[in-house]
Amino acid sequence: MYQAFIVVLEAAFVVVVTSLVLLLLYGLSRRATSSFSGRSAERRKPFMCGESVHPSKTGVPDAGVYTTIWKNVFKSIYEALVIKVHTGILSEWLFWMILFMVIMTVVLVMVV
């Protein structure tokens, strides 16, 4: 257990060291580009092929992230799970995440 804790700390240390190097490079890049940065406000609008859309309307609702694709791929399973065994007040996104976690847990328990 102690050994496992140590390797996690070592990996985290490497991540921090790498991040610091990249942060330094980012600072150098900002310095090199500071003379011509931020002069035009036009470029700061979302890329929308000329359409004018408010930023709050530009995202996809997270509830639709999984369901549209899953509805098409596993129509019968989707109907059995979601329409017959309704997921209740939980969003379907959460349902699939929990299902994924259960599968991963079962695999890990089987292996370890």
Partner: protein, 328 residues
Amino acid sequence: MIVPELIVEAFLYPGLLFLWIVAWLTQWFHRKVYARMQNRIGPLYTGFMGLLQPIADYTKLFFKEDVSIEGSNSKLSLSLLFIALGSLVALPIMLPLAPLHPIAADYDVVLALYLLVWPTITVALIGMLTPNPFSATGSSRVFSMMVAYEVTFAASLLTPITLASSKYGANFSLYLSCLNAWKLWLNWSTAPLMALAVAVALLSFQCKLLVRPFDIPEAETEIVAGPFTEYSGFKLALIMGLHDLEMVVGSLLLIMLFFGGFAPFAWLPWPIALMITIVEYLLVIIAVTWIKAVTARLRVDQAIGMFWKYVVPTSMLALVLSLLTTLS
């Protein structure tokens, strides 16, 4: 004195500097091979045979303005990219490449799988952090595909690790598994499982890299550049670096875990063993490039359907059979 050793490994070998050099040469090789497969020449003018083209690309982005659009979260996306690149730098130190102090312990495979997932999650999240429908659509596609191919990639890596742990006492350590798993090819009962696992791992790796036929989240004809649409300058260089480093680290992991890297050739003089390892590495890159060159992009439902209907059962079959082999 572990800290100085880890700093040297993180900075030089097999860390950041080594990985950037290998990523630069790999990208050049990948572009050349891909171009030859399409009857093109590929990079030619920058340096000898276009060798400096990837460096020119990175340098250009380094000196470009980093534009953050209205409503985006620039600092969080930068932090995520740092963590993802750090995860990819930490992974080779868990392999038998680390000369001073490898990050290794029993059951450290859980840590390796965790580090491997970070780049994918980062690609999905940085798209969510910019208010753009193309980015959001690309991110939703990454999340949807991740549920399929991360499972198969993890299962295909666990197959040799499980077998090596039971037969050679690797104890679910990635380091010890890499040193011993190649011997599984010599056993008639484990060789077919290794073949199944390596086939699934290669297909999942292709999907993890988001290259054709799985470049669905960044399909430029449909959604511009997907999660990367609103990124420019240094952040786009980091995204390119993330992709290149993922290709390098994933290929190193595959050759080390499935073919032992230089471990089967340790009895040969080291330059020959090194050459063989490089050839193994290039074969993985050629396989990825070849699949990319000969296939067209799938639709997202086709890709997920293919994975859940065929690849997930195959990977699970290999894993379950390896567990049964272990028990018997």
